[in-house]
């Protein structure tokens, strides 16, 4: 056997595969801005170097919203670098990426909920570096780490009211990608909103098991439409959510988007007719929260070692109030939603949260009772 040829081909295949996966955006820097000489350097106040570590850009919601906020900061003169570090399956490389960034002089490392546990060991080793974990509720924060938490239950409560009001069959569904505390908080708020508006409306909750299997999600929703008469769907499922919109189109049902205005992104795309099922989207303004957080840092305020919770009152969660929403949702329902939002803001109405349940079993019992 021609061993030389074999080894050459093997080597070239491996190199090719590595090159392609790297280009595929696992650890690839999308945008860098040269540091501004006059700025950067100090960790107390002023504008510094930020490293935004997100799993992958291009999700049209969560990570892209963060990137939009980082772009605002870039325009203000911050030196921001966005690093796509890949999802949980690449977690073994995360610490190395952070160490590289610290070596390159980045003073602020920003990452989403899953990354908090990887930040923790570094906080004591690098006390001069600040860590910000967003979309996470932590109680064990050291002095150089903060977390931003979004009250997604409050926003979900409002779209839950709308779902109950729009459902002709008194049956709605919330379908998620995979279950985790943050996602369960979405579900809790939604169920609470549906039941407060219409106690007779049933809520089906299901996890499709992947953030990128729209085909499975579509089948899941068709099944709910057939067997549970669901006619309003709420997606908290990342890429799989596209399959939910397909199912809503096929069955003539309504859908609710998440994180950013999904009606708008479909309307701007090549298939605008798909937008016509998306009544509204529950907003989670990740980008805005970055901007306000780093403005506080710039002003030299003491923001470290704390968890900041941002909800309706801070305009960090909410729903899209566009023309399509106004045309299709009756006025009294829209007013009821606005009233509830005002009550939550004023502190008169408290929305149930996943973090209030004593145990996972309590949460499951709550969700099952809604069926």
């Amino acid at each position: 056997m021609n061993k030389k040829l074999l080894s050459t081909i093997l080597a070239s295949t491996m190199v090719l595969s590595l090159a392609l996966t790297a280009c595929g955006g696992d650890k690839d820097t999308t945008e860098t801005k040269k540091p501004d000489d006059s700025q950067g350097g100090t960790t107390t106040g002023g504008k510094g170097k930020i490293a935004y570590c997100c799993s992958n850009l291009g999700d049209k919601s969560f990570n892209d919203s963060g990137e939009a906020g980082m772009n605002i900061l870039r325009n203000e003169g911050w030196d921001v670098r966005t690093v796509e570090i890949g999802d949980d399956s690449k977690a073994d490389k995360w610490t190395d990426i952070y160490l590289d960034l610290i070596d390159q002089g980045y003073q602020y490392i920003v990452g989403a909920s899953g990354q908090g546990d990887y930040f923790m060991p570094l906080t004591s080793q690098y006390p001069e570096v600040k860590f910000l974990v967003f979309d996470d509720l932590r109680t064990d924060l050291p002095e150089n780490m903060s977390s931003i938490f979004y009250a997604q239950n409050e926003g979900s409560y409002l779209v839950g009211m709308m779902a109950a009001g729009m459902s002709k069959n008194h049956s709605v569904a919330v379908n998620v990608g995979m279950e985790n505390p943050v996602i369960n908080d979405f579900v809790t708020g939604f169920v609470n909103g549906v039941k407060d508006y219409d106690p007779n409306c049933s809520v089906v909750t299901a996890a499709c098991g992947s953030w990128a299997d729209p085909a499975l999600m579509k089948t899941l929703c068709l099944d709910q439409n057939r067997n549970n008469n669901v006619d309003v769907f709420y997606q908290v499922a990342g890429g799989s959510g596209d399959g939910l919109f397909d199912a809503a189109m096929e069955t003539g049902s309504w859908a609710i988007g998440v994180d950013s205005d999904q009606w708008q992104s479909y309307t701007d795309g090549s298939n605008p007719e798909k937008a016509n099922v998306i009544l509204t989207s529950m907003l989670k303004e990740v980008g805005n929260s970055f901007v306000s957080f780093f403005h506080q840092v710039e002003a030299g305020e003491d923001v470290w070692g704390k968890t900041v919770t941002l909800g309706l009152a801070d305009d960090s969660v909410g729903y899209v109030d566009n023309d399509f929403f106004k045309t299709n949702v009756p006025e009294d329902l829209r007013n009821a939603m606005a009233d509830a939002a005002a009550k939550v803001k004023a502190g008169e109405l408290e929305v149930k949260s996943y973090y209030d349940f004593a145990s996972e079993a309590d949460y499951l019992a709550y969700v099952d009772a809604a069926k």
Binding site: I9, L20, G25, A212, N227, N271
Partner: protein
């Protein structure tokens, strides 16, 4: 709670379609003596090709042709590396699958500037569904069999074509001969590499159809990693039936049934989701174990029969 079991059966057939194609792709290589794990990556590449070609030419059929073409090319690529290049087939397939996971996202990003899905950037095209006259009026059967995607009927047809090819044609005999014993086949003048290339081509066409079904029928866009292990499930389906077309498609149907069942149970029961997601894969292991044991028992019977015959 009322479950519409007729619609459920139709759903099983829909979910089994890509698995049947994947199983057909796997078994033709298996019959030629090669275990082609690269089907997963081939399906992924074809799915992207289907969405891309359909958008570029604004025509669903060109999308389908593009998917078949890319399936064919990727199949020939693996064949070239492993047959002509004599590289290890398993390593080639693993490298190819990894490359296609990243490569499809890379290509999608080059073309659309998106890294997650083409649903916004590319116009969606769907392969039409077909109502079969007469059958569609039969009460239960009509709802199950009629009204499926055109590709589902192609999948059913491909099972019988594959059976005909393997059992009733000269080429099929040669493929099986090479799979059984390449040296013996070579000694009677069959070109082993040529047969290998032909089986990889057929495998490529089948993978192309699977990819087209995912991105132009089930849903109408490409999404990163959208094959989600369906190529591997197809591989184990053919493994359960020892590469027989009819048995493999029954196995693929069984896996489709398990997937559909786990979905219905998610919506209708309180079982933990993680347990339900395990069902299709646990079923794979159990089914492989059971078929393996049956095969061993059969062989033992044959052997003991032969021993008894000798004693007489």
């Amino acid at each position: 709670m009322t479950i519409d079991w007729i619609a459920f059966a139709a759903e099983v057939i829909r979910m089994a379609t890509p698995l049947v194609f994947a199983a057909m792709a796997a078994l033709i290589c298996r019959q030629a003596g090669m275990f082609n794990m690269g089907i997963e990556g081939m399906i992924l590449c074809s799915a992207l090709a289907a969405a891309t070609f359909a958008h570029l030419f604004q025509n669903v059929w060109i999308g389908l042709l593009g998917a078949i073409l890319i399936g064919l090319l990727t199949g020939l690529l693996i064949a070239f590396v492993s047959i002509t290049g004599k590289a290890d087939l398993y390593l080639t397939c693993i490298a190819f699958n990894l490359a296609s996971t990243g490569g499809t996202v890379f290509l999608m990003f080059m073309m659309t500037g998106e890294k997650s899905t083409t649903s916004g950037a590319f116009r969606s095209f769907q392969i039409p569904t077909i109502d079969i006259p007469l059958i569609k009026d039969i009460p239960v059967l009509g709802r199950i069999i009629s009204g499926q995607s055109l590709l589902t009927y192609v999948a059913i047809l491909s099972i019988f074509l594959m059976w005909l090819l393997l059992k009733r044609t000269r080429l099929g005999l040669r493929i099986r001969a090479v799979g059984e014993n390449p040296h013996a086949a070579e000694s009677v003048g069959i070109s082993v590499p040529k047969v290998g290339y032909i089986s990889f081509s057929i495998c490529g066409i089948m993978s192309g159809l699977a990819g087209a079904f995912l991105s132009m029928s089930w849903v109408t866009y490409f999404m990163r990693n959208m094959a989600n292990g369906r190529g591997y499930i197809g591989l184990s389906a053919q493994n359960m039936a020892n590469g027989e077309p009819i048995g493999s498609s029954i196995a693929a149907l069984f896996f489709g049934f398990c997937q559909a069942l786990s979905i219905t149970m998610k919506n209708q029961t309180n079982f933990p989701t993680e347990f339900l997601e395990m069902i299709p894969y646990a079923a794979t292991i159990i089914a492989l174990g059971v078929t393996g044991m049956l095969a061993i028992r059969k062989r033992r019977k044959v052997e003991s029969g032969q021993a008894a015959a000798k004693e007489e």
